[in-house]
C-alpha cells in the first residue's frame, strides 16, 4: 500500500432526514466509482453471481456534478430493476462520461433510496485529491 496515496473511499455523514455521503479519491474517475460503491453500501445491495448483461453508459451534463447525479440515478434505476453493476471501465472527458459495467443479478437490498440530489453538491479538487458530499433522498 502506498502511504502517500490520497485517501480513497466514502463515509456516511449525519443528515437529519436523509443520508449524506462524503466521497474521496485521488482522481475524478475513482471518485465516481467510490460514489457508486457508497450508494450500493447505503442501499445494502447484495450482488449475486449471475451475470445479466454488459451495459455501456454514455452521459453528457453541464458539469461534473451533473454527471455525478446522473450516474448515481442511473444506478438507482438499474437497482430498481434488480441489477447491480461492477465497473469495467469509466472515463470522464470534460463533462462527458463513458462507462462499461457488468450488471449482476441483485439478490437483496436493505434500504430504499429515492434519488441522488444536487443539494449543495460540489466536487472539490485540492492537494489531497478529489472530494464531494452527496445527499440522497431516502
Amino acid at each position: 500500500m502506498d502511504a502517500n496515496r490520497p485517501f480513497s473511499g466514502f463515509a456516511e455523514v449525519p443528515h437529519t432526514a436523509d443520508i449524506a455521503l462524503d466521497v474521496f479519491a485521488p482522481n475524478l474517475e475513482e471518485l465516481f466509482i467510490n460514489a457508486a460503491k457508497g450508494l450500493y453500501h447505503i442501499l445494502g445491495i447484495r450482488k449475486g453471481t449471475k451475470e445479466v448483461e454488459n451495459i455501456h453508459i454514455s452521459m453528457v451534463a453541464e458539469d461534473r456534478e451533473g454527471l455525478m447525479v446522473s450516474l448515481l440515478n442511473e444506478l438507482l434505476f438499474h437497482a430498481a430493476n434488480n441489477q447491480a453493476g461492477e465497473f469495467i471501465s469509466l472515463e470522464i472527458n470534460e463533462y462527458q462520461l463513458e462507462a462499461d459495467l457488468l450488471m449482476l443479478e441483485k439478490t437483496g437490498q436493505q434500504k430504499e433510496v429515492k434519488a441522488a440530489t444536487f443539494n449543495d453538491l460540489v466536487i472539490v479538487q485540492d492537494a489531497e485529491g478529489f472530494h464531494t458530499r452527496i445527499v440522497f433522498d431516502v
Binding site: 449525519p14 436523509d18 453541464e62 446522473s70 434505476f77 430498481a80 434500504k111 430504499e112 444536487f118 433522498d137
Partner: protein
Amino acid sequence: MKIGQFEKINDFEWRLPRETQPGMRVPVVVFASERMLNEALQDRSLEQAANAAALPGLRGNVCVMPDVHQGYGFPIGGVAAADYETGVISPGAIGYDINCGVRLLCSTLPLQDVKTAITDFTAALYHACPSGVGGRGIVALKARELKAVCEQGSGWALKNGYATAGDIETTEDSGCMEGADMEAVSSRALERGVDQAGSLGAGNHFIEIDLVAEVFDSAAALAMGIHQGNLALQIHSGSRGFGHQICTDFVQKFQTVARKYQIDLPDRELVCAPLKSPEGQQYLAAMRCAANYAFCNRQLLGHSARMVFERFFPGAHLLNVYDLAHNIGKIESHQFGGEKINVCVHRKGATRAFGPDHPALPARFQKTGQPVLVPGSMGTESWVLAGTAAAMEKSCGSCSHGAGRVLSRTQAKHQIRGDELRSRLMAEGIYVQAGSLGGLAEEAPQAYKDINAVIACIEGAGLGRRIARLTPLAVIKG
C-alpha cells in the same frame, strides 16, 4: 442562522425578513414556539427556507411548519406559493415522493370487543398489504391501465371494484388531479410504475392500527366518521418508484431550463421552470400523473386493509375519514393583500388544511373544515385536526404533516437497537411487524420531535384545531 435574526410576531410565529440574505424575494415565517424554533436552528432547515425564498414570483411568505427539518434544497415542512402568471414550479420543492400522503380510516368497532385479535389482524394485514424495498403491489397494471390510473387516480380504483363512492368523496381532490398527461412521463417512470400499484414501500412509510383515544369536538368528529374508543387505521405511502423517477427526470432536465429562463438560485436542487412555460406545464402534467398514481396506491392499500378487517371482524366496517397529500404542488386561489390570486402552492412535508366553507371541500366538511392528519412517530400519538380560516390567511391553507425528525438516521441507528425498540414497544402494548430491524431503529420515537409540542404550536398559531387523538396499537413497517 441565529434566533436573533428572527422578528417575533407572537409566541408561535417568527419572521425572517427578506433582507436577511441576498436573493430572498419574500420573508420566511416560522410557526413554532421559541423552543421549537431553537431546535429547528440546529440543522440547516431554516437556511433552506431562506434559499427557497429566492424562487421567482413568490407571493406572501415562505411558511415553515413546527415539524420542519432539513431536507435537500427545500426544507421538509415548507410551503411556498408562486404566482401562476409570473412564478415558477420547482420539482425539488415538492419532493421525489410526489403525493406522499396519509389516509385515515375509522371503524365501527370498539376496541374492547376485539383487543385480543389485534396481533393476528396485524399479521394478516402485513401479508395483504405488500411492503418493503422495491416489491410488487397488489395490482400488476398493463400499460393501458397505468394510463387510466394516471388520468383517473382513485377513480380507476372505483371503476375496478377497489373503492367506494364514499372513499372518493373523502379523498383530497376526490383522488384525482385534473391535467395529468402520460405524454409528459418518461418510459423509465412508466416501467417503474407498472408493478408497484398497491404497495407501501419502506423508509418512513407505515400502516398503523390505532385507538381513537379522545375526541375534542364531537360534532366535527361525527361528521368525519371518528368515534371515540373505536379502532382506526392509518396508511402512509406515496407514488413509489413511479413518482421518484418523474422527479429525478425533471430535476435533471430543469438544470438547463433554469438557465434558459435566467433563473439564478442558491441551491441547484431548487431548479425550476416558469409555470406558464412549456417545461413548467410538462412537469405539472407529469407530477399530476404521479399524484394520481399515489392516490390510487393508498386507495388500493386501504381497500385491501378493509377486506382483511371485514374478514376478521364480520359485520364491522372500516370507513375512510380522509386521504391527503403532503408532498405536492397545487394550483389554488388565495388572498394576498386583499387580492385573490391563482398560485401554485408547493407543499413539501406539509398538509393542505382548508378551513370551513371552502368550495373544494365536500358537503360533509363544509362546517368543520378539512380533516388534517398529523401522524406522530412510531409508538406515539397521532392527531386529527381541522383546517381553519386562520390557516387560509397565514399559510395558504397549510399545516404540519407529522412530528418531524431531530436525529439523523445514522444517529438513530447508533443510539437505538431495532430489536430492543421492538421489545420496548411490545412491552408498551404496541405490536410491531417490521421488514427490517435497522429500518425500525431509524424510525424510533426518539428520532422525532414531540408530536404534542408540534400540535401545541399549530393550535397556538391557529393553523388547525384539535378534533381527535389516536394512540397506536400496532405498527407495520416495510
